[in-house]
């Protein structure tokens, strides 16, 4: 009974219920996409897109248009700019990504510093899930559903693309379109998650659940389910932690995810460090000590 009260108390406040729903939605969408991002090796791209949306969000507030519109335009624009510069220079991907996203992030900071009254920088950077407006609530849910539906509809193609893009091409699939689709979905996902954890920590939700699930299984459908389950659980834990300890919501969710990752890193059945140490031990010849 006491536990029930403990669980129910925060939900007596409308803003807490709303925060919980937004955080779960964001964590779920991020975790599903994270499975493909980490297999593609696109983690840095997630970091780039999330930082690059800052000027879009700032301009959207100034212009009075939905923040998700501005964020998506700049997220997708950053991806396009990275693609153009990469294909017209000999620079390595991470270099180009680094130049583009820091530039756009700085543009965003400059815009906000010149228009201080319009926006609260800390809300954009670190999230403001307790202050989500009706309009933002609807934006997050609608975009979340669209993104999730698109990812799941094309999940087999995206997995083939991540595993062997040359063969995807040889099969007559349009790999350029698949790449664009995945990047577009990445931009949408960042938009969905901005309210919950903010620009700086979005990338954690875009990497950690997939990385944790990767350590736990060697089956992609299981990985997808595990990542989704972990993300929902950690979203709930994060919200309650932030309510009872008065800690930052975004930070609480991300720390909960980091804790699960640490558990998987240590205890995962095959890829955890304990399991690996056991395998090494079992394969060591009995006379190894004498040989050394």
């Amino acid at each position: 009974m006491e536990l029930l009260n403990w669980l129910a108390e925060p939900m007596l406040y409308g803003f807490m219920t709303r925060a919980l729903i937004v955080t779960i939605a964001a964590a779920l969408v991020c975790s599903v996409l994270s499975c493909w991002l980490i297999l593609m090796g696109w983690s840095l791209m997630g970091d780039a897109v999330s930082h690059a949306v800052l000027p879009g969000v700032a301009l959207a507030y100034i212009a009075g248009v939905p923040f998700s519109f501005g964020a998506f335009v700049f997220g997708a624009g950053a991806v396009a700019l990275i693609g153009v510069i990469r294909s017209t220079t000999n620079l390595k991907s991470d270099t180009v990504i680094g130049v583009v996203f820091t530039t756009l992030f700085a543009v965003g900071l400059a815009i906000i510093s010149k228009t201080p009254s319009q926006t609260d920088l800390s809300h954009i950077l670190f999230g403001n899930v307790l202050g989500v407006t009706d309009g933002e609530f609807v934006q997050v849910l609608v975009l979340g559903v669209i993104t999730l539906a698109a990812v799941l509809f094309k999940r087999r193609d995206l997995t083939l693309f991540a595993f062997d893009r040359t063969h995807a091409h040889a099969l007559g699939l349009n790999t350029h379109w698949l790449s664009t689709l995945l990047l577009g979905l990445l931009a949408l996902t960042v938009v969905v998650a901005l309210q919950a954890v903010g620009i700086i920590l979005v990338v954690a939700m875009l990497i950690t659940p997939g990385a944790t699930a990767f350590l736990l299984t060697r089956r992609f459908p299981v990985m997808l389910t595990a990542a989704a389950g972990i993300s929902v659980l950690t979203a709930v834990v994060g919200i309650y932690a932030s309510y009872y300890w008065d800690a930052s919501t975004g930070a609480s969710v991300v720390l909960a995810q980091s804790a699960v990752f640490t558990l998987a890193y240590v205890f995962a059945p095959r890829r955890g460090i304990i399991a690996r140490a056991r395998v090494r031990h079992a394969h060591r010849p009995a006379a190894a000590g004498a040989v050394q």
């Binding site: 297999l39 509809f153 094309k154 087999r156 193609d157 997995t159 083939l160 991540a162 595993f163 062997d164 040359t166 063969h167 995807a168 091409h169 040889a170 099969l171 007559g172 699939l173 990767f214 299984t217 060697r218 089956r219 992609f220 299981v222 990985m223």
Partner: protein, 262 residues
């Protein structure tokens, strides 16, 4: 087992126009910026042959594969696959590709069965949900390459030779008619190599056309009908015994590099 037919036995079929050649490349030139990767390459492959593609690293073997798959655009020249352009050939599942080992992420969470099923994707609807015919095709392909009992293993849990056979099975499930194999014998032990070559010979008997890039010169005459010596352009093409001569290899590999060749 079919022995390599002498070149003159194959030629009349082409002249009669009985069937389009599996591969017909005419005067193909490919450039990367200021590097000439392929220089007026012309190459025809008859259906139902195994052809070895031989050349040093940087000789254009990979570029030739990419050009056949339409991954690099030809500066000049044409590539026809069973008479079709590269894009139409891909759409019609005419060709498949077995990648080099180092181009594959072996930790990727897919099973052997999953990988072979990917060969069916070009024949499936937009969500690629497989039907019973596709499962049968995958089971049949796994049986042909002898991996039925390992179908549920994660792809990286296979040995070097088994991994190659899994990718060949993907091409079988795809029902592709032209198979491109990029260095299939690299990192594969002798026993597995023999299993793989006898598999390729069985596929040839089924009418598949197979193009293999390889460094294993000694093995070529045993199971290949023809060989192509590439060094940006085609130095020699024909019966392996006539192509892999000491003089030709010296031209392709440079002097002193032929001592290891049979």
């Amino acid at each position: 087992m079919r022995k390599p037919a002498p070149a003159q036995h194959r030629r009349p079929a082409r002249e009669a126009g009985a069937a389009a050649p599996a591969l017909n490349i005419a005067s193909l030139t490919v450039r990367y910026a200021d590097i000439l990767a392929l220089d007026r390459v012309s190459l025809g492959l008859e259906q139902g042959n195994i052809c070895a593609l031989v050349g040093v690293n940087g000789s254009g073997k990979s570029t030739l594969f990419k050009a056949i798959m339409g991954l690099v655009s030809a500066g000049t020249g044409t590539v026809r696959i069973f008479g079709a352009g590269s894009k139409a050939a891909r759409k019609n599942n005419l060709l498949t590709y077995v990648p080099q080992s180092e181009d594959v992420d072996w930790t990727f969470p897919v099973s052997v069965h999953d990988v072979v099923m990917m060969g069916r994707y070009g024949r499936l609807g937009p969500t690629r949900r497989p039907h019973s015919a596709d499962r049968e095709a995958v089971d049949h392909a796994l049986e042909q390459v002898g991996l039925t009992s390992l179908a549920s293993r994660q792809i990286g849990e296979l040995s070097g030779g088994q991994r190659k056979r899994a990718f060949v099975a993907r091409g079988i499930a795809q029902q592709a008619r032209l198979m491109l194999l990029d260095e299939p014998f690299a990192g594969v032990d002798k026993g597995s190599e023999a299993t793989l070559t006898s598999l390729l010979q069985r596929l040839r008997a089924d009418g598949k056309t197979i193009l293999i890039s390889t460094h294993d010169l000694a093995g070529i005459p045993r199971f290949c009908d023809e060989a192509v010596l590439l060094h940006r352009s085609v130095l020699a093409h024909g019966d392996p015994a006539e192509v892999l001569t000491t003089e030709n290899l010296a031209r392709a590999f440079g002097e002193g590099a032929t001592s290891g060749a049979a």
